[in-house]
């Protein structure tokens, strides 16, 4: 696979500026995202990595505008130049048609009582008015593209007859039938075996390069994100705390949380005497302390960290949300 074919265009396909989201719980508005700013260009893959409650899935939902009821979003979300928050009715449907969404559990998103063929062609036939025979032909072709053999036979089968890996391929093929500009993949391989995961990832990767798609890849797995994506954004308590080229995130992470995450994961090549432990547990934005959200778990935290809210700033070829970054790190020369 050549990496040189990817050339992100000047204007990003996805642009988030200072996006905040709150969900109403009873009488209260509870924050789930706080000042999230991100861009993804055509043909580019951005990984969003975080633990429970970090807001990684919510970020994807904000882009697709697939939000839970009683959600308030502020800030700007632009996809292909359109302001996503102001869309409604027809324009919202058009927006969603630009978007292919792939979830963790394909079984939960494919109608179990309809055939794979029915599922795959539903939108083509009902919305785009394509004749059924032609729609099925296109579906078979799309299945072939993602490496499913004897696609005609698969189209006549029901979801329960297919393995998880095969269903995820069906999901990807279906999404590609809609000719999207953006793919949002939310933990697409978490439920799959490792060998199947590697296959599904390879297909996603190939598709986004061939079709110049903007890929947003959401995962809890830092290694996987950096293997799949050009850039990785790390989220904690509803905020982006670091963005960096994926190739540099292991060796050159500059946010203490990212560093700690890298150290906490065991590695294949070496048995560590002890894994680095991050004390405590990840917090949701609603329970985040004042100042830096990570400071109670941070080994570098000083008094000021509890008082000053850090902002995401360019630092050492990436962006970092930490007031002590200059004290902790000697920035490296830009031309590494």
């Amino acid at each position: 696979m050549s990496r040189s074919s990817v050339r992100p265009s000047d204007s990003p396909v996805i642009q988030l500026e200072n996006v905040a989201a709150d969900v109403r719980v009873g009488e209260q508005w509870r924050p789930v995202l706080r000042e999230v700013s991100l861009t993804v260009g055509a043909g580019e893959a951005l990984g969003i990595v975080g633990e429970s409650g970090s807001g990684k899935s919510m970020t994807a939902r904000t882009i697709a505008r697939l939000l839970p009821p009683a959600t308030r979003v502020t800030g700007t979300v632009r996809v292909a130049g359109q302001d996503v928050n102001s869309l409604s009715g027809k324009s919202l449907r058009r927006h969603r048609s630009l978007m292919g969404v792939i979830f963790q559990d394909p079984k939960a998103h494919i109608n179990p009582v309809r055939t794979i063929g029915d599922f795959m062609t539903e939108t083509l036939v009902l919305v785009d008015g394509v004749r059924r025979a032609e729609a099925l032909e296109r579906a078979a072709h799309a299945l072939g593209d993602v490496g499913v053999t004897s696609p005609e036979r698969r189209l006549a089968q029901y979801p329960h007859e297919l393995s998880g890996g095969l269903l995820q391929r069906v999901m990807i093929a279906t999404v590609l039938l809609g000719d999207p500009q953006v793919i949002l993949a939310d933990e697409p391989t978490t439920a799959l075996d490792v060998t199947t995961q590697s296959e599904v990832i390879a297909i996603l990767d190939e598709m986004r390069r061939e079709r110049n798609l903007a890929l947003v890849f959401i995962t809890h797995d830092l290694e996987l994100a950096s293997a799949v994506c050009d850039r990785t954004a790390v989220m904690y308590a509803g905020q982006v705390v670091e963005t960096r080229a994926s190739g540099a995130i292991h060796e050159h992470a500059r946010h203490p949380y990212t560093r700690a995450l890298v150290g906490a994961r065991p590695t294949l090549d070496l048995r560590q005497r002890r894994l680095t432990v991050i004390p405590g547990r990840p917090v949701a934005p609603a329970e985040a302390p004042p100042g830096c959200s990570f400071h109670p778990r941070c080994q570098y935290a000083k008094e000021a960290c509890a008082a000053i809210e850090p902002v995401l700033e360019p630092f050492d070829n990436g962006t970092v949300r930490c007031i002590r970054k200059h004290e902790i790190w000697e920035p490296e020369p830009t031309n590494r």
């Binding site: 199947t196 990832i201 390879a202 906490a264 065991p266």
Partner: protein
């Protein structure tokens, strides 16, 4: 090695056939006292069935199991005998959300296991023991009085581990114990498991699909595929120099820096 101590667990020629379908086929391995053995494989490899046979949740159709020198292939004849067996082997499941009684506080859960397995210790002695075990797994006084619903996944998994240790356990079977936990919590639990083994000499049978986790907490490994063992040996050796093609494929499928996903086969 001229170590005369018999293994804590010895499995020989284990087989399981259900409705003519072979689920487990000729599986043999030993776990030395204080050892830690990984059983890795993908879905359908039979790894969980092996664990279920060892704990007595299901019966083997072939082979034999000896735990701590005692044959336990045949089903138990009495509740007392079943309890005696359970005392020696305990299970920790993947999902800490569904494996604990939601109405019990952490200390009640541990105390229950003590009453079942800990002989006839009185209440004061049991309370002291609950504290001791809670200390070992890092549960605070406040968490001991909490019900699972108020605790996080990592804290619940600590309760499950504490419950397993409450019995005078010799072998703990851990079925994907950290798969459902956040990365930062995983590290805490993996370190804890290492400490417990070092301090108490408890042996582990560690079932996992995650080779990096296995590298961290086990000494020996068996790789299973479609019910059979395809490779076995010291964990470090097998992961560094796999000889079986399937083990190699598993190894190469793990994403790491510089990794490229491969589209090897069509289905």
């Amino acid at each position: 090695m001229s170590e005369p101590t018999p293994p804590i667990l010895s499995v020989k020629g284990l087989g399981k056939v259900i409705h003519g379908v072979t689920i487990v086929d000729d599986v043999s391995f030993d776990i030395p006292v204080g050892g830690s053995l990984a059983v890795v494989g993908e879905s359908g490899s039979g790894k969980t069935t092996v664990a279920r046979i060892i704990t007595g949740l299901t019966r083997a159709t072939a082979g034999s199991i000896a735990l701590d020198g005692t044959e336990r292939t045949t089903p138990t004849r009495s509740a007392a005998e079943r309890r005696a067996r359970a005392r020696k082997v305990q299970l920790v499941f993947q999902d800490p959300y569904s494996s604990l009684d939601p109405r019990f506080t952490a200390s009640q859960t541990i105390d229950e296991a003590l009453r079942m397995h800990g002989g006839n210790a009185d209440r004061t002695r049991r309370r002291a023991r609950v504290r001791e075990i809670a200390d070992m797994v890092g549960l605070s006084e406040k968490q001991l009085d909490s019900r699972p619903g108020m605790l996080s996944g990592g804290q619940r998994q600590r309760i499950a581990i504490a419950r397993a240790l409450a019995a005078d356990v010799r072998l703990v079977i851990l079925d994907e114990p950290v798969a459902a936990l956040d990365v930062s919590i995983q590290a805490q639990v993996l370190n804890l498991l290492d400490d417990i083994r070092r301090d108490t000499g408890t042996s582990y049978l560690f079932i996992s699909h995650d080779l990096a986790v296995v590298r961290q907490v086990t000494d020996d490994i068996v790789v299973m595929r479609e019910g059979r063992i395809v490779e076995s040996g010291r964990t470090a050796d097998v992961l560094e120099h796999p000889t079986d093609d399937y083990t190699k494929l598993l190894r190469e499928s793990v994403p790491q820096p510089g990794w490229h996903a491969r589209r090897s086969l069509s289905v």
